[in-house]
Symmetry: C2
Subunit: 321 residues, 2 copies
């Protein structure tokens, strides 16, 4: 099959082996896939991944040992647990130590004609959600994970660092839950687009270089995708406040955690979320992320699609096989 394959370089292959389903797995024909910051990090060495990246997708089941799935239009939870450990038994395959993660860890992903996933990972998609909107389920679920982890008071001051894809999802999810976070970014055009979606925005520079006494955010959510985002977050969170870390950068940063101790900051690592809340928000129209679409490329133009995804003026870039 045709696939975008990363193996020290990213390239289109036309002879990549078709996925072979294990028992309990289905084959999904990919209809559309989205490029995420993690995909870009993978091409910088993140997780030492080799294979087909891509974990945001909508597709149709074409082969399955569960006949009821065949023909279904589906999205998929990205973590595939071992099914045997205590975490899997408790329903938390996301943290199974032996998990694979589609397009990220030990399992080929969605930038291809076909992918395989356990049947239990597949989630039938309501017709009310278009293919384009469905691509946002996985990153929107990652944003909703924040509210599964913390429940700030309704009047909490909140800042989102980063005006990229994940920052936009976090802003939409928090707004849909009644919060009024300010999105701090470096890209006036993207901030303007977020403002048109109802977000409160500001240039990040306006909040930096302040004295300690100006630290005043109850909650800061780092969606910068850079190791330095954590340091920026430390600069604006109030003493006793909370930083939600969403960035998984490939590079190490030189950090001194003493300010975390001195100011008694709480840091919450936050990764994937469950799809249900995101699906409901999209199906009901409470959140419509489609204004964030900036391109839809054929798989053959995958390298151009990655270049567009790296362009800091763009939000979401799609691929279709």
């Amino acid at each position: 099959m045709r696939a975008l394959v990363y193996d020290r370089i990213l390239q289109l292959r036309k002879d990549y082996p078709d996925p072979q389903p294990a028992p309990g797995e289905s084959i999904v024909q990919v209809v559309r896939a989205g490029i995420c910051g993690t995909d870009l990090e993978i091409t910088r060495g993140y997780m030492a991944f080799r294979g087909v990246p891509g974990h945001e997708f909508i597709g149709r089941v074409v082969q399955s040992d569960d006949r009821s799935l065949i023909g279904q239009r589906v999205a998929g939870e990205i973590n595939a647990g071992c099914g045997r450990c205590a975490l899997c038994a408790a329903g938390d395959a996301r943290h199974c130590p032996d998990r694979t993660v589609i397009g990220i860890l030990g399992r080929d992903g969605a930038f291809a004609e076909y992918l395989r996933l356990p049947n239990v990972n597949l989630i039938a998609m309501p017709e009310a959600i278009t293919d384009e909107a469905a691509i946002f389920i996985e990153p929107l679920a990652a944003a909703y994970e924040i509210l599964a982890q913390i429940r700030p008071s309704p009047d909490a001051s909140m800042a989102i660092l980063g005006d990229g894809r994940l920052g936009a999802m976090a802003a939409l999810a928090l707004q849909a839950n009644g919060y009024r976070p300010v999105v701090l970014g470096h890209h006036p055009q993207k901030l303007e687009r977020l403002e048109r979606l109802g977000c409160v925005v500001a240039m990040a520079e306006e909040c930096q270089g302040r004295e300690d006494g100006r630290r005043r955010q109850d909650v800061v959510i780092d969606c910068t995708g850079r190791a330095a985002g954590f340091t920026d977050a430390l600069g604006i969170v109030r003493p006793g406040g909370t930083i939600v870390l969403k960035s998984t950068a490939a590079a190490d940063g030189a950090l001194n955690l003493a300010p975390v101790v001195i100011n008694e900051i709480t840091i919450i690592g936050s990764r994937c979320g469950r799809f249900r809340a995101a699906i409901e928000a999209l199906a009901s129209g409470q959140i419509d992320p489609r204004p964030l679409l900036d391109g839809d490329y054929a798989l053959e133009d995958g390298l151009a699609a990655f270049a567009a995804a790296k362009d800091p003026r763009n939000f979401k870039i799609l691929l279709h096989p």
Copy 2:
């Protein structure tokens, strides 16, 4: 007066100016002071402090504009707030952005004949608590702060990294509250002494180099005083678990926070605590830390006292002016 003074080097001075009380402050004649890991960090550059270190003390009020205080035997909360900001108004001088901290930040400390502190910081000491036990109030309060921040389930698995002064305090405080943490250290003699105090102990080496799948502590408390303690904590905390950071090391460490995000770890910075719980535990005899005393030096022998405090075989070293 005589004082140990740090100004790039630590030395005894016999002509150091007597402290001059501001309105609302008292002068305390120091009876005994304890050397803490933070004092050792200060001599390595922590907080760029210059002056008299020392923040664990018991003394007697010899001068005050509150006459009821004169003659009282007191310990003292170490953070002195500005008294005007929102945090001070809410009773949280510990996080006042303009605070001074005795012996740590902008205020001379207890390794001297006399010190000054706001009257509101002084806490009368019950006679049931000896001078030697009273020295442990401040570090024990810092240990109790953990339980003011998190309330693990009674059967939570807990590890304390570090068999030093603070690790010992954390172990005693958690035990007094019904938990059974394991203290992981590198010093067999100190671990044996903690075992005689009823602690569960193990050599840290036994827990390192494990596969991800072996990560299983619900809560890990880093009391190592080293930047690397955080990385060690990450290695043994379970996915979704909590790391309490107690270490304030002067040095930066090269860190990659991606595992915090991937495993959705919560990190809680934890510094000073309120004295009340610690005073009650000492006054009732629930905790008796005096077996941790390893020396009581005259102020004139302050450099030898610091050398003893740096000796990894020792717990608590005292000074008396």
